[in-house]
């Protein structure tokens, strides 16, 4: 008999959660849970609440009501500092990249490590390694405002994965890139998922969800429904 006790609690759990903007509920009484290592698409039409759901899951937005557990912590009872510590275990990729444009490529990617208080020598090692992987080591000290859309996308992804997050959220990651880069990006997410990272991607790209057979949360009319991945015959 094994002595190892595995934590079977979901990595994310929502119980009757309502969330929205300025008092208007975009999502009402949503209940669902995601296990560690899951790969999940969040789908729905524009305005269905994909970004709202994601911003709540990466702990920037608080639910109006209901219980949201992330990493086993009820965020209603978490203070600002412990929320920040939880966010350090999360990576986020945005459609509009959201880089700090006045900083260099290096400084943008180093940001999550600096926030964690890592020493500069270790940061340099990790950033350079990652820059080689995304083939941008020659642009290390370029300011982000001078980069092309594709380069910014790569920097944004590097920033999201540099601290080896437990969960990676991506909001319409393929929305502003061509099909070839979108495919590369998806293969990267699949690889990250294989090494244990929980991936949650918000998209309205049906081709993407049909090409990659993973579970799907569909948002419609303020409700959320979880569809499991199709069984292979």
């Amino acid at each position: 008999m094994s002595d190892i006790v595995t934590d079977t609690r979901p990595i994310i759990e929502l119980q009757n959660v309502s969330v929205g903007y300025d008092g208007d509920e975009v999502l009402k009484n949503v209940s669902l849970s995601l296990q560690a290592g899951d790969f999940t698409f969040v789908t729905g039409k524009s305005g269905a609440g994909k970004t709202t759901l994601l911003s709540m899951l990466y702990l920037i937005k608080k639910p109006y009501k209901g219980i949201l557990n992330v990493f086993g912590n009820n965020i209603n009872f978490s203070n600002r500092d412990s929320l920040a510590l939880m966010r350090q275990r999360i990576g986020v990729v945005f459609q509009d990249f959201r880089l700090l444009e006045h900083l260099s490529v290096y400084d943008n990617i180093a940001l999550p490590l600096r926030v964690r208080g890592m020493n500069e020598k270790e940061i340099y090692k990790r950033v350079v390694e990652l820059l080689r992987w995304i083939e941008m080591h020659k642009s290390i000290y370029k300011t982000c405002s001078t980069l092309s859309g594709g380069e910014k996308q790569r920097v944004a992804i590097a920033r999201a994965v540099i601290n080896r997050p437990d969960i990676l959220f991506a909001d319409e990651p393929t929305g502003s890139v061509d099909a070839e880069i979108a495919d590369k990006l998806m293969r990267l997410f699949v690889e990250l998922n294989k090494v244990g990272t929980t991936i949650v991607i918000a998209t309205h790209n049906e081709l993407l969800t049909s090409t990659y057979n993973y579970q799907r949360i569909d948002l419609s009319g303020g409700t959320a429904k979880l569809y499991p991945a199709l069984q292979k015959i």
Binding site: A84, L85, V92, R98, S104, D107, L111, V115
Partner: protein
């Protein structure tokens, strides 16, 4: 190390116009702060000097004795003076007694009587300058009674009455200066508070990104504190550069007026050193205010 030094602030507060505005404003405040601080210190020195010099001495006035023809009886007057001198030399708490010579009395009287009057013909009292021992507790009533036993023509002027008025005036001046000092510090805090709030609004996007990647409020507040520490230090230096010539000029003017009272209002080396470290105070003050403002604002914002 090199990368750490070259590292840009993640929140671009240094490039904002509000920072320049705060720097200019803080420099003016620091200039005023140093000037008022110098005034407060000068008043303190002046008051201490007055207390030491004036309260450490008393003056005895001995009126001359006149004969039947209303003329000064020199022998009797001298005899009376010797008695008073002897009494005062033996009095408790007295360090030394000396008679103020005629030339000095003449010089003191010149502003009122002019040069052409022979003061020997006037019934001007003779003056005795009595220096007291340090921290001596003098019973002036007892001393006056003893002196009256020697002669009824002698009286004591212990300077306390007019000095108390002067001290009250100096105290009011000091209170006024301290109020100005507090006001300058308060206005400076408000300026930093509002410019920090404005900057937080302008940089909301950067702050949200930092929050998303897991930055604690402390991390963001430290960035602002670092930026405002620079502003505070440079404001202090600029304020000091402008304040020192002003203080030196005023000091020189004060001395050149020849007023004995103002002459005692000098600044010591310690005072100058205190003024020299005001940029450090300014740095800490700006840094602390910015840090506190950011922490409080972020708690309310998100």
């Amino acid at each position: 190390m090199h990368r750490e030094l070259m590292r840009k602030n993640e929140i671009p507060t240094d490039d904002e116009e509000t920072s320049v505005f705060v720097c200019v404003l803080s420099s003016i405040y620091m200039y005023l702060f140093i000037i008022v601080l110098a005034i407060v210190m000068a008043i303190n020195t002046m008051v201490k000097s007055w207390e030491k010099d004036i309260l450490g001495a008393i003056t005895i006035q001995v009126s001359p004795i006149e004969d039947e023809n209303k003329k000064i009886d020199v022998d009797k007057t001298q005899e009376q003076l010797n008695k008073v001198l002897q009494f005062m030399e033996n009095a408790k708490g007295v360090k030394s007694v000396h008679v103020i010579d005629e030339k000095t009395v003449e010089r003191l009287m010149t502003p009122w009587l002019g040069n052409k009057v022979d003061i020997n013909t006037l019934p001007i009292p003779q003056l005795l300058d009595v220096q007291l021992k340090e921290n001596a507790e003098i019973n002036y009533d007892e001393m006056t009674r003893g002196l009256h036993k020697v002669t009824s023509n002698a009286s004591i002027d212990n300077h306390r009455l007019w000095l108390n008025r002067l001290l009250k005036f100096a105290g009011s001046l000091k209170t006024l200066a301290l109020s100005v000092l507090c006001m300058v510090i308060g206005i400076c805090a408000f300026s930093i508070y509002y410019s920090t709030r404005t900057s937080l609004g302008i940089n909301m996007n950067s702050i949200e990104i930092l929050h998303i990647i897991g930055a604690q409020d402390n991390y963001i507040a430290k960035q602002y504190a670092k930026s405002y520490a620079k502003i505070g230090f440079f404001s202090g230096i600029i304020g000091l550069i402008f304040a020192i010539p002003s203080i030196v000029l005023v000091s020189k003017y004060g001395i050149s007026t020849g007023s004995g009272l103002l002459n005692s209002a000098g600044l010591s080396t310690g005072h100058w050193l205190l003024m020299m470290i005001t940029p450090l105070f300014s740095l800490l003050y700006a840094m602390g205010t910015a840090y506190y403002t950011v922490r409080k604002s972020l708690e309310k914002m998100c």
